[in-house]
Symmetry: C2
Amino acid sequence: MSKRKPVRVVETPAVAERDPRPPVEAIRAAAFTQFAERGYPVVTVRDIMKACGLTQGALYNHFKSKDELLHDIIASTQGELERQCQQAVAGAGDDPRAKLAAFVRVYVVRHCRLRVEALVANREISWLGAERVADIRRSRRAIRDILVTILNEGVQRGVFDPPQIDGRRDLKAMAMAMLDQCTHVSMWYGPGGAFSEEQMAKLYADMTLRAVGAKPQ
Amino acid sequence: MSKRKPVRVVETPAVAERDPRPPVEAIRAAAFTQFAERGYPVVTVRDIMKACGLTQGALYNHFKSKDELLHDIIASTQGELERQCQQAVAGAGDDPRAKLAAFVRVYVVRHCRLRVEALVANREISWLGAERVADIRRSRRAIRDILVTILNEGVQRGVFDPPQIDGRRDLKAMAMAMLDQCTHVSMWYGPGGAFSEEQMAKLYADMTLRAVGAKPQ
DNA sequence: CGCCAATGTGAATGGCCGTTCAGGGGCTTA
DNA sequence: TAAGCCCCTGAACGGCCATTCACATTGGCG
């Protein structure tokens, strides 16, 4: 016996039936779910193509490599996340409390609703080649900096009073903590839970505002 | 050209020089760092054994399979985490606020100090076979339930006042949020940051107590 | 010294990998 | 009808995989 790939035994490459969408989209979609369910390194090009009713070779009419396919997928959802966060903050008026709440609300709703996308974008980056991974990390840093800026404003204006440890603060660490929390809803939230997506968003916004010591509005 | 494994190009299987420790430990240690740096599915048995100065075949004198090796590694750190959490809570007296603070403190310090262990235990579970993965998840659920219990006690005794959304609470979701936050320090914390491990632990304990609306002690 | 068990070696086994490519079909345009 | 293009197929190609196995090597013990 020599079998390989006993890894993640729940294999269901799906039988395939030619996807009606234009092939690029079909491939993207199939790859998305496969990566989400089983992880980039163990999903084979053959798996992906079978799942949308094509054969291995056809992939290379649409993407240069398996690596490019992954980057294409991650970059598009990451870009949209960044845009949504900026928009939410820009449209929330001037009060840092409102900005923070808007940011968290959008971020959490998105991570509940688009669980699969978020999961792939967060779990599979490390398989990308060096230049591609740098591209994604830049976007993440940008999002974190939005948060840090809001926190700073709030402290400056006296509407936030975040914890001080030994007389000092670390707003960057706090921003990371919040993002970790909000990002990973996508790992366990499901429609079976007690709260809807919007309720989750409210809960997280509430917890976050409390954590930074937001004064009542 | 057919090259495989362009994935995570930073390959450094390490040149090897027979590890002085007893072989089982040497293997465990080598596997640990390899898994942490490059991820279970792309690390080969040859890589691991080369890293401790042995050859492929020798692995099977100590472990039944690559899968068993991973489980051995993860289970031992997960078990220790569970024990530490229980101990911290048990030794914190009767007040839910003290229990919660103790829990978070231990959890965060551990995840800062043993970053690599935490990282592997959290990132690589999904590669385990079904029975083995269930074992680990049970332990995680146990840890979550410790938290839920503390939260419940605190609410019952009126020392916590967690957010209500549309008149209802979801303590399980809150516990998950806190764990996500504390767990993922291990993904970015480094000794270069502004805060020490203990300061991080205090910061996180503070944020958590605020989030659950703990009344001043 | 001779024996035995534990432990290590490295070739062999059967198999899957990403990628390429020669050879089609089936459109649209002329 | 013929040409040209887009897209797909499926058989290579060269290579690495986990695991097994016949065969050393080692060191403790009688």
